[in-house]
Symmetry: C2
Subunit: 211 residues, 2 copies
């Protein structure tokens, strides 16, 4: 790997996963970013099966060869697009700083704000859909959960089985997103976020901090 060791910012273009970087200077500096954004939007709108590298190239206004040059296969590009969509999760460790008191409430509040905002909800929803229907997407999500949730979050928890605890907290939040934003059951779908915080924060607090 010639790539830098630092994790790039969530919106920055990034290298293909596990392949050596090729000459990257032969297109405009914004081309990778444009391709990545087009990929995220195309996969979100059409799903994995119906999205083609050619369609992404067209949406990004570049040649298909350039897409392959930067990102390799459709699978590599899909993985990169999912990681961009998961950007909001990168803020979770910061949300959890500030100690154990009130951590459940801060996390639930942050999670709800991400899902109330269409700009972050739409790509997250697409990732969730992809992970439920495509083993490749599930593997990307699994890897991301492993790196972000488990290594960064669980490392700070002062309870037994911190990874298990972090995943239980995630399970409550993911289930909330599924029923509120995808299946849209009422009254949950229209419930006041504050009412949800009041009920769900103690759950997350217990998972993350109480034996």
């Amino acid at each position: 790997m010639n790539g830098p060791a630092e994790r790039p910012a969530p919106d920055a273009p990034r290298r293909g996963r596990g392949r050596p970087s090729r000459r990257e200077a032969d297109a405009g500096p914004g081309a990778r970013e444009q391709i990545l954004r087009a990929a995220r939007d195309e996969f979100a709108a059409r799903g994995y099966d119906k999205t083609s590298v050619r369609g992404i190239a067209k949406a990004a206004g570049v040649d298909s060869a350039l897409v392959h040059h930067y990102f390799g296969t459709k699978d590599d590009l899909f993985a990169a697009a999912i990681e961009v969509s998961l950007g909001p999760a990168l803020a979770v460790p910061a949300v959890l700083e500030g100690g154990p008191e009130g951590v459940g409430e801060r996390l639930v509040r942050y999670f709800l704000s991400v899902w109330e905002n269409p700009a972050t909800r739409v790509p997250l929803l697409a990732t969730l859909r992809s992970a439920l229907t495509n083993e490749m997407a599930a593997a990307v999500l699994r890897g991301f959960v492993g790196r972000v949730l488990l290594e960064r979050v669980a490392g700070d928890l002062r309870v037994s089985n911190p990874k298990f605890r972090a995943e239980l907290a995630a399970s409550q939040l993911v289930g909330l997103a599924v029923l509120r934003h995808v299946v849209k059951v009422e009254p949950l779908a229209s419930a006041d976020p504050e009412e949800i915080v009041r009920m769900v924060a103690p759950t997350v607090q217990r998972y993350l901090t109480e034996e």
Copy 2:
């Protein structure tokens, strides 16, 4: 509607939704059941988009016309197949009988047993996948949650906002299924069910019984 008022057992063949029953005696008595089972399996294996009425008819060993005769459109058949897959949820009200004490534990234990058993897990997983990718499936699931969870379960709860509470409990359980059985994050995916019961039962108990 000429149909009987009673809800059929989960595995029984059932009428098309909202359409008058037609002459039903002109095929073997097992034909409807066979079609329904084939529909459930085909939708589970291929997803909504890639499943055809013709393919279901072939798998059931009947003519496509008979499928249309019994179930109407592909959408009607899809709805009927989802409802069959959701059969295990019909047992939830019985699980909740026996009063508020220990209700969280009984419900989590039942939910885990349904998901550990491939015979019930596979069709449930297919329904969850469908609901996350298809608005028609989401509507069926929404209707089912409305009838089963809300009318039958919430009616017995002695807390404020019983429907909201029942949905919060469902959100925890659905999220657990997603992370454990679909995304398969470790250590949750391999965790001992008893360990999960110990952590999650108090959550469900609180949602369903505590102010």
